[in-house]
Symmetry: C2
Subunit: 462 residues, 2 copies
Amino acid sequence: MAETSDDLITALRAELPGEAVVTDPDRLTSYQHDMATFCPYGTPAAVVLARSTEHVQHVLRVASRLGVPVVPQGSRTGLSGGANAIDGCVVLSLEKMAAIREIDAPNRIAVVEPGVLNSTLSAAVAEHGLFYPPDPSSWEISTLGGNVATNAGGLCCVKYGVTADFVRGLEVVLADGEVLRTGRRTAKGVAGYDLTRLFVGSEGTLGVVTEVTLALRPTGREPRTVAGLFPTVAQAGDAVARVVAAGLVPSLLEFMDQTSLRACNDHLNMGMPDNAAAMLIAQSDADPDRAVADIGAISAIFTEAGGFDVVEADDLAEGELLLAARRNSHYALEALGTGLTDDVCVPLTRLADYIHRVEKVAAEADLTIATVGHAGDGNLHPSVIFDESDADQVRRANWAFDEIMRIGLEMGGTVTGEHGIGVLKRDWLARELGPVGERVHRDLKRLFDPAGILNPGKVLSA
Amino acid sequence: MAETSDDLITALRAELPGEAVVTDPDRLTSYQHDMATFCPYGTPAAVVLARSTEHVQHVLRVASRLGVPVVPQGSRTGLSGGANAIDGCVVLSLEKMAAIREIDAPNRIAVVEPGVLNSTLSAAVAEHGLFYPPDPSSWEISTLGGNVATNAGGLCCVKYGVTADFVRGLEVVLADGEVLRTGRRTAKGVAGYDLTRLFVGSEGTLGVVTEVTLALRPTGREPRTVAGLFPTVAQAGDAVARVVAAGLVPSLLEFMDQTSLRACNDHLNMGMPDNAAAMLIAQSDADPDRAVADIGAISAIFTEAGGFDVVEADDLAEGELLLAARRNSHYALEALGTGLTDDVCVPLTRLADYIHRVEKVAAEADLTIATVGHAGDGNLHPSVIFDESDADQVRRANWAFDEIMRIGLEMGGTVTGEHGIGVLKRDWLARELGPVGERVHRDLKRLFDPAGILNPGKVLSA
């Protein structure tokens, strides 16, 4: 093993600058895993801090020759262990490939390296009156390459869609080190198979993305906000269904259950009444007149559906105050114990029903489950809270986590709306795909990665 | 050959109802080709009118066993020969699989068989206050399966996107007869590789689609329309760029050049002035106030850019009158001679430049080229007009057709914005993809169709 590792390091250094190949054990530990709970990870033999497509090509050629696994990494904010290191692997960090290569404002596209932060691009295009919508909760610290690898979602999806909807083209280094260009720069194009979409969301298992061409939109208006509390989850779910049925298109429509509300209330001293079973928050970034009308209509629906303390924000600052609870729910829940965050998407009409089933799972597991989510998309994040030092709680937490997915599938949903499969949900992916779907996935994996060096054990079990 | 064909017919009939297998030579001729010009086609050994997924499975199993090519077909409105028969093949017609299986209005989805006409679905969902945006020019007579196979576009794309943007999931019969389900019913989902997008636009070369789950939208408002004439193409191109730069999002933004305008003027007796070099037509289906404001803004931009006779329509009927020329351009051009219609998409800012280059090609080829297109997407349809009985004109027309694509690629565009590759543009696809891209395409084709029975010779040369 030591000898193999020496060969590997020597081969890597042969064509990479000295500082690009990290082998110092202390530094290696910080590249071991992303933010997922309970996902196994190992220790890399080396971390390569790639600065160019050529660096990535060299790493993949060496890894192919020596049969060493390569784990591509952004800023490790993922929630499924997709970027977790494997013992003896090369972690291929794209963080230093962080140049915005081009902003073509008249054609509304940007060309970026994978290590550019979502927030950096957002700030850069704002100067051109443009807007890059996908906004995962990690947007301030996550890389666009990571967003592409997981096909990240966010709060904006209900109106604007997910990362894939904004990716026009890619440069991808294949397992053998060859460079593939996919897609196009133009608004439309149907030349050949859609390889771009095949790589988006493939979590580094089919190739390594070294450049992304992204579509941009004109900046939206300052959003108008409404929040309302509900005596029951059923009433909140009914309100969501009514908003959709009315043909309203909010730019954000979020849900919080009682547990998450109370946790945020405590965490942020918000002084909210604690008798609410749920809260909904909606925004519209349409033209001012339309936003006022739409938020007014949503406000009326909240009230008709049984909501109370329905408040419209007069300005952006007040709107952000209403949203603060939702934006901070992750941190507020951390105070309650270890959280195992799920990511199920169900048909809109099953929303309330689904949340009730999750409540039953919590009762049966005798654990707290706090649910927040992107209600307008039916995409919920139930977090199972438990004490990591209590083996029985850990067992029950894992059971509950699985039940949450099982029920989601049963209701016609999917086991991941936006976080991806990683190592966390490999078995559940197989269940969702069925045998033919799994076979096709494995065939595709083998086609692009015959030696099995590209992030092996992620998405599909090795 | 005759014996093989007898074996084939016998094997097909073994598990299909008698009327499903057509072998009458007179009837076979009507299944030979789509609407493309100059695309070779052969005579099928049989046409199977499939009525179920099981029928499709049987055809593919038989074809796999006997090594017979299968050409899937909708209503043959394609423009690239993608549905053209091959001598001795089985044409697998999906026209009789024409049931709308489900309209789930609260969740805004429809589940359809591939033979449902685009117009049939549009009418059915309108009763639920819903709207299926993709509107290829053939929408009244083209099937949704065909739209999926070619990833069809249309006039709405500038605001709503193409067919792929509305496909949530598919049922696909693979070459070996197995049934694959891809995608999901939910608004979001990132479980595994995006197989749905891999099949959309693959023109029947990777599998046969037998069911489509489509996303729907709330019905838009009655559109407001403006049309304007321009003394030069450059001014029209400038107007398009200005509309985009202003952040306006029309629901339609179409271009016609002088040749197509004059042809329509003659064809429809429209009495338009014939001194215009170009016409632009824009619509907005936003809220009435917003539509009035946006169409007013676009109207002002048309005038500032040098447009004349800029007219806003007061109502839908008047708007349709303004659009009539564009909608009928295909028929008007038919009166001039045989047309070879191209489908290039260029970056928006190159629009005027591109049209000028096409004009130069026309002069050099000494042929008429009429250009219309979806200006808001940079997607243009130059039609080379020629006399099919004149060998030299045919030669020059083919040269011009190729030049139109070559220049598009040179400007950073694509050789097909929405019509697909079929047999017409296989060589150009290879040029656009480059060697690595072509290799990956061929690897994928071989993976899904190892015996080469699925629409062989389409997209990729056999």
